[in-house]
C-alpha cells in the first residue's frame, strides 16, 4: 500500500442508490399478511348474491332454502341490515346541483348494474357460504338498461327512473371567465377563416384496474375498537367513511391495510363489500371475512376511464396554437363513486399540457348508466387529457405536413419561462422539455427510424412503420388542501409523518401514506437514513394502520413521495432540532457550537461529539437532560403542499403495422422522464416499466365491453386482455433532472407518469404507420381488426362484436341460477 491519504470518511448517500426493495421477499413469496391470509378464530365467511341483470326491480327475495343450508348462520338483505349498512359516499360532488343516486351497499328494491349485491350469505366456511348463495331465490322484473354514454345522453331510457335524467353534472372551465386566458370559441372562429382548425372525437374506452390481489376484508368486532382489515389503498379515508355513514364513533374503529397487492386506483374506494362486512360483523358479534373471486372483481370493483372526447384545436397557419375546446362526456356507471366525476375534472387542468394555449374552454358532462361504477384508475383524468392533446398535436402536425416535433417545439413552454402559469390556472414550477426531448430522440434513433419509415413506404412494404410522440406533463402530488376545497372535494390533501427514536438507536418512521406495492418502506428508509445519518437497516417504516399511523390521507395520485416524503423530511428535521439542545447539554457545549452532520452532533473545532442514536438513548433514560426539558426527541409533521407537482417527459414509440392483417407490433419504446431528483432508481424504473405497460395496454389490448343486455362480456381474463412480459419489449428508460422547487428533496411523482404518457405515443405511432393509407384515427384498443378496418374501410375501426369467445363449455345453461352470469 502506498501512503496516499484517504479522503475524509463520508457516509455513503442512500438517496440515489438502487437499493433492492426490502419488502420484496415477503411480497413476492406471498408469505405475508395479506388480508385473506388472516384467520381469526371463529371467523364467519361471507358470500355475496349478485344481480345477473343490469337493471331490474327486485320483486322478491326468498332466503329460506339458503338459510337452511349446511352451516349457514344468516342470510341478509338490504332491508335486514337497514341503516347499519351505511352508504357508499361520493366525496366530490363536482357541481352543487350534481344528480347523485343514493348508493346503498346492498341494493334495496332495484338493481342498477349486473354484479350489484342483493343479499349476503354468512356461513361457517367460504364454501358453505358460496353453496348457499346459489340457493337464494331472487325474482327480478327486468327494466330497460341504458348502456353507453351516447344512449344515456338521450335520456330515453333511465339508469335510475326516479331521478328523471341520466345527466349527473356539467362541469365547466373557461379561461376567459377565469381570467387565465382568452375566449376559445373566438379563437376557433378566427382560425376557421385564416388558420387551421382540427376537430376530432376520441374514445377513451372503459378499463378495469385488475390489481393482482383480489379485494378482501376481515372485520373483528370483538375488541373495544372494531378492527377492519382491508385490501385497500385508503385505510384512513375508509375509517372516516365507516364512521360518517354508520354512526359508529370514529374512535371505535381501527382500520388496517396490511400488505396490499396492488391497487392502481382500483382500491381507492369505500366499497359495498367493506360496508357489508362491517355491518354483518356488528350484527352477529362475530369476526367475518369476505374475499372476492376474480370474476366478482371484474364486474363489481370500479372500472376506469370511459369517455368520449370531442376536441377542437385552432392554430395559426404556422402552427402556433390559438385555442383549445374540450367537450367531454364521461360515464360514471350506475353510481357516483367516491371520486366519481372528480376524475374527469382532474383532467380539465391537463388538456393544455405543456403548450401555451392562449384560450381554453373545457366542459364535462357526466352520465349515469346501468354499468359498473367508474372511478380512479392509474392517472385518473390525466391519461385521458394527455391522450387527447397529444393525439391532437400529432393531427396538427399531419395537417401541416410537418414533423410532430415542429408543432410541439413551437408551442411548448421554454425552460427559461418557468415558473409558468398556464391557461388552466396552474403554476408549473419547473421543467425542461427541450433537453428531455433531445435526449429521447437520440436514444431512440429518431432520424434513422424516420428514414426507415420512408423506405418502407416507398417500397410498399406490407409491414409499415410508424413513430409516435408524447411530450407529456401531469399534475400529481394530490394536493393543496385549499385547491381541493375550491373544487368542492370533501377532504384535504396534506400528509402526515412521525419519526420515533427508539432507545436502542433504531428508528421507526410512520407515514400516513399507505403503500400497496410501491416500495415506500425502502424509499422512505433511504430518505430518513440520509436525513438522520442512521443506517438504512436500522429504520423501519410503519403505515396502513390507523392505530399506528393515526393521521394520513393515504396513497393515490402520485402523492406519497412528494407530499408524504416532504412530511417525513420535516419530521426528521424536527428530531434533529429537538435533539440538538440535548446533545449540547450532554456535551457541555453551547447550542451554537454544536453542528449536526451525518448522524453526529459535533462541537465545532473539537473532537467532542456524539451520535444522534446516543442522544436517543440518553433521552430514553432521561437521567441527564436540560432542566425542564420534555424527555422526547420524537417528532411529527403534517405537510400541506402549496402546489401540485409536475413531472414531464418525452416518450417515443415505434410500431410496425402488418397491413395485410392489421396486427401491430412494438418495435422500440424510449422514454426520458424528468421526475426531478430520484430517491431510488430501481424503484423508479419499476414504476416506469409497469406504468408504461399499463398505458400501452390501454392503447392495444384492454377494453371492458358490455353486450346490449348490460352483461360484461369481458368478464374474465380470457376476454379482458392483460398483457404479460411476453407481450412487451425491453424499454429504453432514461431521465433528465430538473428538481421540483416545491419540496425539499426536489422530487416529482412517478407512480402514474408511464401510464399517462405512453398511451398516446403508441396510438400516434399506429396512426402514423398507416396515415398514408388515409387513416386519421384508430379507436382504442387498436385491435388488429380495427386497424385492418381503418385501412380498408376508413373510420377509426369501429366497435367490436360484444361477444366472448367460449372456451369452457357449460353443461347447464349459464345465467340460470341467482349468481351465474354476474361472475359469482
Amino acid at each position: 500500500m502506498t501512503a496516499v491519504a484517504n479522503p475524509p470518511e463520508e457516509m455513503a448517500k442512500e438517496i440515489g442508490r438502487d437499493r433492492r426493495r426490502k419488502e420484496d421477499q415477503r411480497l413476492i413469496t406471498g408469505r405475508t399478511r395479506w388480508t385473506d391470509n388472516l384467520s381469526i378464530p371463529g371467523t364467519l365467511h361471507l358470500a355475496m348474491v349478485r344481480s345477473p341483470v343490469a337493471h331490474a326491480t327486485i320483486t322478491s327475495i326468498d332466503t329460506t332454502e339458503a338459510a337452511a343450508s349446511t352451516n349457514v348462520v344468516a342470510v341478509l338483505t338490504s332491508e335486514d341490515l337497514g341503516e347499519s349498512q351505511g352508504v357508499c359516499i361520493n366525496a366530490w360532488p363536482i357541481t352543487p346541483d350534481q344528480v347523485t343516486p343514493a348508493h346503498l351497499p346492498i341494493a334495496n328494491g332495484r338493481v342498477a348494474f349486473a354484479g350489484e349485491i342483493v343479499a349476503v350469505v354468512v356461513a361457517r366456511t367460504a364454501a358453505e357460504a358460496r353453496d348457499a348463495a346459489e340457493l337464494v331465490d331472487v325474482d327480478y322484473e327486468q327494466l330497460p338498461a341504458v348502456l353507453g354514454i351516447k344512449e344515456a345522453l338521450k335520456d330515453e331510457v333511465l339508469a335510475h327512473p326516479d331521478l328523471g335524467t341520466n345527466k349527473s353534472a356539467l362541469w365547466v372551465f373557461d379561461s376567459e371567465a377565469a381570467g387565465t386566458g382568452g375566449n376559445a370559441d373566438d379563437a376557433i372562429a378566427k382560425a376557421r377563416t385564416d388558420g387551421i382548425v382540427i376537430e376530432r372525437e376520441f374514445r377513451q374506452q372503459r378499463l378495469i384496474p385488475a390489481f393482482m390481489e383480489p379485494r378482501s376484508v376481515v372485520v373483528d368486532p370483538t375488541g373495544e375498537q372494531i378492527t377492519v382489515w382491508s385490501a385497500t389503498q385508503i385505510p384512513h379515508i375508509l375509517r372516516f367513511a365507516l364512521a360518517a355513514t354508520t354512526g359508529v364513533p370514529e374512535s371505535k374503529i381501527r382500520v388496517i391495510a396490511p400488505d396490499v397487492g396492488g391497487g392502481f386506483g382500483g382500491k381507492l374506494q369505500q366499497t359495498p363489500e367493506e360496508m357489508i362486512a362491517f355491518a354483518v360483523a356488528r350484527r352477529l358479534s362475530r369476526p367475518v371475512k369476505y374475499t372476492e373471486t376474480r370474476s366478482e372483481s371484474l364486474v363489481s370493483a370500479h372500472h376506469g376511464r370511459d369517455q368520449w372526447q370531442k376536441l377542437t384545436l385552432s392554430a395559426e397557419k404556422d402552427g402556433t396554437v390559438t385555442g383549445l375546446k374540450v367537450e367531454l362526456e364521461a360515464d360514471l356507471g350506475a353510481y357516483v363513486a367516491i371520486v366519481g366525476g372528480g376524475v374527469p375534472v382532474l383532467g380539465a387542468f391537463m388538456f393544455n399540457a405543456i403548450y401555451k394555449f392562449p384560450a381554453y374552454h373545457f366542459s364535462c358532462q357526466t352520465v349515469l348508466t346501468n354499468t359498473t361504477w367508474t372511478d380512479a384508475y392509474r392517472g385518473a383524468g390525466r391519461p385521458e387529457a394527455t391522450f387527447g392533446i397529444e393525439r391532437m398535436m400529432d393531427e396538427l402536425a399531419a395537417e401541416m405536413g410537418v414533423d410532430p416535433f415542429v408543432v410541439r417545439e413551437k408551442n411548448w413552454i421554454k425552460h427559461e419561462e418557468f415558473p409558468f402559469t398556464t391557461v388552466a390556472g396552474l403554476e408549473y414550477d419547473s421543467g425542461n422539455y427541450e433537453i428531455a426531448t433531445a435526449k429521447a430522440k437520440e436514444i431512440f434513433g429518431y432520424d434513422e427510424l424516420r428514414a426507415e419509415q420512408k423506405r418502407r413506404r416507398d417500397s410498399g412494404d406490407p409491414v409499415q412503420l410508424g413513430l409516435g410522440v408524447s411530450t407529456f406533463t401531469e399534475m400529481c402530488g394530490l394536493a393543496p388542501s385549499r385547491v381541493l376545497g375550491s373544487l368542492d372535494y370533501g377532504a384535504g390533501g396534506w400528509e402526515h409523518a412521525s419519526v420515533r427514536m427508539l432507545a436502542t438507536g433504531k428508528v421507526e418512521v410512520i407515514t400516513g401514506a399507505s403503500a400497496h406495492g410501491q416500495g415506500h418502506e425502502t424509499a422512505f428508509s433511504q430518505i430518513v437514513a440520509d436525513r438522520l445519518g442512521i443506517p438504512f437497516d436500522d429504520i423501519e417504516v410503519l403505515h396502513g394502520d390507523t392505530q399506528i399511523a393515526s393521521k394520513g390521507l393515504d396513497t393515490y395520485g402520485s402523492r406519497s413521495l412528494v407530499v408524504g416524503g416532504e412530511a417525513l423530511v420535516r419530521a426528521a428535521d424536527k428530531v434533529i432540532e429537538k435533539a440538538l439542545p440535548f446533545a449540547a447539554h450532554l456535551l457541555e457545549a453551547s447550542v451554537d457550537d454544536v453542528k449536526f452532520h451525518e448522524g453526529r452532533f459535533q462541537v465545532v473545532g473539537t473532537d467532542a461529539g456524539m451520535a444522534l442514536t446516543e442522544v436517543a438513548t440518553a433521552t430514553f433514560t432521561a437521567h441527564n437532560l436540560p432542566d425542564g426539558a420534555e424527555p422526547s426527541i420524537d417528532a411529527d409533521a403534517t405537510f400541506d403542499p402549496v402546489n401540485f407537482n409536475y413531472p414531464h417527459g418525452t416518450h417515443l414509440c415505434a410500431m410496425e403495422v402488418d397491413t395485410e392483417t392489421g396486427a401491430v407490433k412494438m418495435r422500440k419504446y424510449t422514454c426520458v422522464d424528468d421526475i426531478g431528483n430520484i430517491i431510488n432508481p430501481l424503484i423508479v424504473s419499476g414504476q416506469v416499466h409497469g406504468g408504461l405497460v399499463q398505458g400501452i395496454a390501454q392503447a392495444l389490448w384492454e377494453e371492458a365491453v358490455y353486450d346490449d343486455q348490460g352483461t360484461l362480456v369481458s368478464g374474465s381474463f380470457v376476454d379482458y386482455l392483460l398483457p404479460t412480459a411476453a407481450d412487451t419489449i425491453s424499454f429504453d428508460v432514461d431521465h433528465t433532472t430538473t428538481p421540483a422547487t416545491t419540496n425539499s428533496l426536489g422530487t416529482k411523482g412517478v407512480g402514474e407518469a408511464g401510464t399517462i404518457a405512453s398511451t398516446p405515443a403508441v396510438v400516434n405511432a399506429v396512426v402514423d404507420a398507416i396515415r398514408h393509407l388515409g387513416v386519421k384515427d384508430v379507436q382504442m384498443p387498436c385491435t388488429p381488426e380495427r386497424v385492418w378496418n381503418a385501412i380498408n374501410h376508413g373510420g377509426a375501426g369501429g366497435a367490436t362484436e360484444a361477444a366472448a369467445m367460449p372456451h369452457f363449455e357449460p353443461d347447464a345453461e349459464p345465467g340460470t341460477s341467482s349468481t351465474e352470469g354476474a361472475g359469482a
Binding site: S295, V718, D719, N789, E801
Partner: protein, 280 residues
Amino acid sequence: MIPTAFDYVAPTTVEDALSALATHGDDAKILAGGQSLLPVLRMRLNAPEVVIDLGKIESLRGVRDDGDAIVIGAMTPHSVVGSDPLVKEHALLIHRAVEHLADEQIRHRGTFGGALAHADPAGDLGAPALALGSSFVIAGPGGTRTVPADEFFIDLFETAIGDDEILTEVRIPKHTGWGAHYEKFVRVAHQWPIVAVAATVKGSGGSIEDVAIGLTNMGSTPLRARAAEDALRGGQDLAAAAELADQDTNPPSDLNGESSYRRHLAKVLTRRAVTAAAGG
C-alpha cells in the same frame, strides 16, 4: 371460486375408469390435466358429483412408434408431446402447434387427449390432428373403436366420445419428411387463436407434391381447407389457392373479430403457413 362439492376417484386402469363411468353415468366427469375442466368447475358452469381422474393410468401416457403411424396416449402432457422426437420426426405439424399452445405451466398440466376431447374450436390441436388424418381410439363398455378425424369432431365442445367412453389414444399417420407450419394469430401471447392455420407440405425446394391444411376457429369444429388444398395439388399458385381458404367455413364473431375479418385472416394466414411449411 370454490366448486360445488364432488367425490373424487383415481382408477389405475382404463377398465376401472370405464366401470366408474358406467356406475355414475351423467353425474361423472373425466379429469385429465384439468386446464379446462377446473375453470368450468370453479365458475360453477358444471357441477359433477364424481370426478374420475385419469392421472394414475400409466398406459394412457407416452408416445410410441407403431409402424406407419405414431400413437400419442391421451394423458400425455403437451410439454411431453412438444419435446418428443417421434412427434417431431413424423408429425412435425403437431410439434409446431404445441410450441404455441398456451403457456409453460398449462403445457405441463394440459394433455393431448384432454385438449382434443374438450373440442374447443379455438384449441390448437384439432386442426393439426385433422390435417394429419389422425384417428381416435375410444374405449367403452363394449370394447374399443377407432374413429377417423373427420368424424371425431361433431360440434362446439362435442366429439364422438360417448358419455360412457374414454379417449385412450390418437394414431397419427407418419408424415415423415413433410414440412409443417402452424400460423397462429393472437393479440397477446398466451391466448387461444383468433384464427390459426395448420399446414403441412410434402415436396422440396418450394414445390408442392402434397399438402394438408387445417383451420382453427373457423367454425364450430376444426376444419380442412379442402378447396385450397385441391387447388394447390392441381398446381394453382399459392396466392390464388389461399383465397379459397375460407370456403365452407362458418367463423364466429366475437370481441376479437367479426366473422368476415376471420375469413380474411384465414386467407392471409394460409398463404403464410403454406409458404413456411414449404420452406419458403
